[in-house]
């Protein structure tokens, strides 16, 4: 077992970056994620591992520094919180378009605008549905514990390089600020320049040697035909990611009649709500998406066969619920419960919302059964009359 440490979610991200052989971190202060940059500047990994840490002049500059480093085949990352991520969207689109591996962390806070600094999950749309311009997808990882914040840094880089695609870790202020036990992994040395060249020589810029053509990293095609081709290629890649990289977790779903769908902090709150509900005899469970792209549509669709209704719980006005509805496709009722603007819904509130949904569904079922019985009785009466 590795060393155990009590860490803030933000600190865990920073420590993981140092230990997983990250080459460069570029950041800009914004609450509630500034601890990442603070931790890294305090630890000062450069003399030890060679990892570069730099405070940029803006979120925009930071993401473009990531572009520059990752276009050299290096493991580069940045982090920010919602308003800062909005600023980064241009750069993220370029990174996706140029097919660069990069890790972006969003420790979400309440919006819109400057919003609040408290936790929120209202960046689902900008993370999963685009955010920047063009048809592109990020691989989106949604940790729900400090340990996962730690683990998903290495996983994020692994996936980013496997698919040459930006990976977004969608965290929130609660997981970023809370402390939990983290099991640390051993230091993985950064790749040497020779190893980087070997791994990324076919596309990255390292300086052109005699034996190959110059490498160009760009997202531009002046002609639409090759750009369409490029888009076809991207879509094929996203399909492959959907086939291979889906991650989700089911909890107490075996006998569940009513199921929560929630990611990140909300999934933890729902688990408590399940515990409280089960004490009352309610058969509750949860499906927790760990990857938001790819989204666990198939498991949700499958669950819809026996589950009576779904409650999507999110610290937003209802963003992810759209994907739950798409997956369930009208087969079962799907409702949303959320608090937003920085408010965290308490487990008992969540349970209340679920109980309301249950009451509604059961009332409807009862009405339906009554109607059916009435019809049956009428039919019987008619038959007897005859």
């Amino acid at each position: 077992m590795g060393e155990l440490r009590l860490m803030k979610g933000n600190e865990a991200i920073a420590e993981a970056a140092i230990r997983c052989g990250c080459d460069a971190y570029f950041g800009y202060p914004i609450t509630p994620q500034s601890e990442i940059l603070e931790y890294l500047t305090l630890e000062n990994p450069e003399p030890k591992t060679g990892m570069v840490v730099l405070q940029a002049e803006s979120e925009i500059a930071a993401i473009n520094m990531v572009y520059g480093s990752s276009a050299c085949g290096k493991k580069a990352m940045t982090s920010s919180s919602s308003p800062g991520i909005s600023l980064k969207q241009e750069g993220i689109s370029y990174i996706a378009g140029a097919e660069l591996p990069a890790l972006i962390v969003n420790v979400v806070r309440g919006g819109p605008g400057l919003g609040t600094i408290q936790p929120s999950q209202s960046d689902y749309f900008q993370s999963v549905k685009g955010g920047g311009h063009g048809d592109y997808k990020l691989i989106v990882l949604a940790p729900n514990s400090v340990q996962e914040q730690y683990d998903f840094v290495a996983l994020g880089f692994e996936l980013a390089f496997k698919y040459r695609n930006p990976v977004l870790m969608l965290s929130d202020g609660a997981i970023g600020q809370m402390m939990e036990k983290v099991e640390l992994t051993d230091y993985i040395p950064r790749l040497t320049n020779e190893e980087v060249i070997k791994r990324t020589g076919s596309w990255a810029t390292h300086g052109k040697p005699e034996y190959r053509k110059h490498n160009i990293v760009t997202s531009l095609n002046l002609q639409p035909e090759p750009q369409e081709q490029h888009n076809h290629h991207l879509q094929a890649k996203y399909k492959e990611i959907e086939e291979n990289e889906l991650r989700y977790e089911k909890f107490q779903c075996e006998d569940a009649e009513y199921v929560f769908v929630a990611y990140g902090t909300s999934s933890r709150l729902c688990q408590k709500a399940i515990q409280l509900g089960r004490e009352k005899g309610l058969k509750l469970g949860i499906i927790r998406p760990i990857t938001l792209f790819p989204y666990p549509s198939k498991p949700i669709k499958k669950a819809a066969k026996k589950v009576k209704a779904f409650l999507s719980v999110e610290m937003s006005a209802g963003q992810m619920v759209e994907d739950v509805r798409l997956a369930v496709n009208g087969k079962r009722p799907v409702e949303h419960y959320g608090r937003y603007g920085g408010m965290i819904p308490m487990p008992d509130e969540i349970l209340e919302a679920m109980e309301e949904l249950i009451a509604k569904v059961e009332k409807k079922a009862q009405k339906k059964a009554e109607k059916k019985a009435k019809k049956k009785a009428e039919k019987k009466a008619k038959k007897e009359q005859k």
Binding site: P32, G173, M179, E180, M346, P347, D348
Partner: protein, 184 residues
Amino acid sequence: MTEEIIIAGFGGQGVLSMGKILAYSGMMKDLEVSWMPAYGPEMRGGTANVTVIVSQERINSPVLKMYDTAIILNQQSMDKFQKSVKPGGILIYDNNGIIHPPTRTDIDIYLIEANKVAIQMKNTKVFNMVVLGAFLKVKPIVNLDDVDKGLKKSLPERHHHLVALNEEAIRAGMEAVKLQQKAQ
């Protein structure tokens, strides 16, 4: 065993670090722990609070509405969190600056005059450790050995000479805590 605790007071009273030491101590005992602060403007000059959960099981929600124990260190926090103690639960408070003492009758109420004890010890900085001592006397979820390890783990090396002083404060808190009212 699951112990759900809120510690609330003014920023600067050491509320967050007390929670951290408690969480660390729990970790030293191989327990699951979570430490969730109310962060942001509340921290700057105003009230500060932190939810600490120590459990033998995996912790689900890091935030709660009701707590097993509330440790309350100012009036605002009393107003806010007195009602959040589970019936039969525990409220520990320092009466320094408290105008309206707790009124609930369905919970155990303990008084710790931590401010006074800290002044007696001629070191107001150990205030929060006195409070921690009071809590550990009432709810010995971790022992002093764990706290010692927790302190060493959470304090930077250059502050390790303070461990003994902190322990002294914890012991003083253990001695000074008084049961004010048993739940009816």
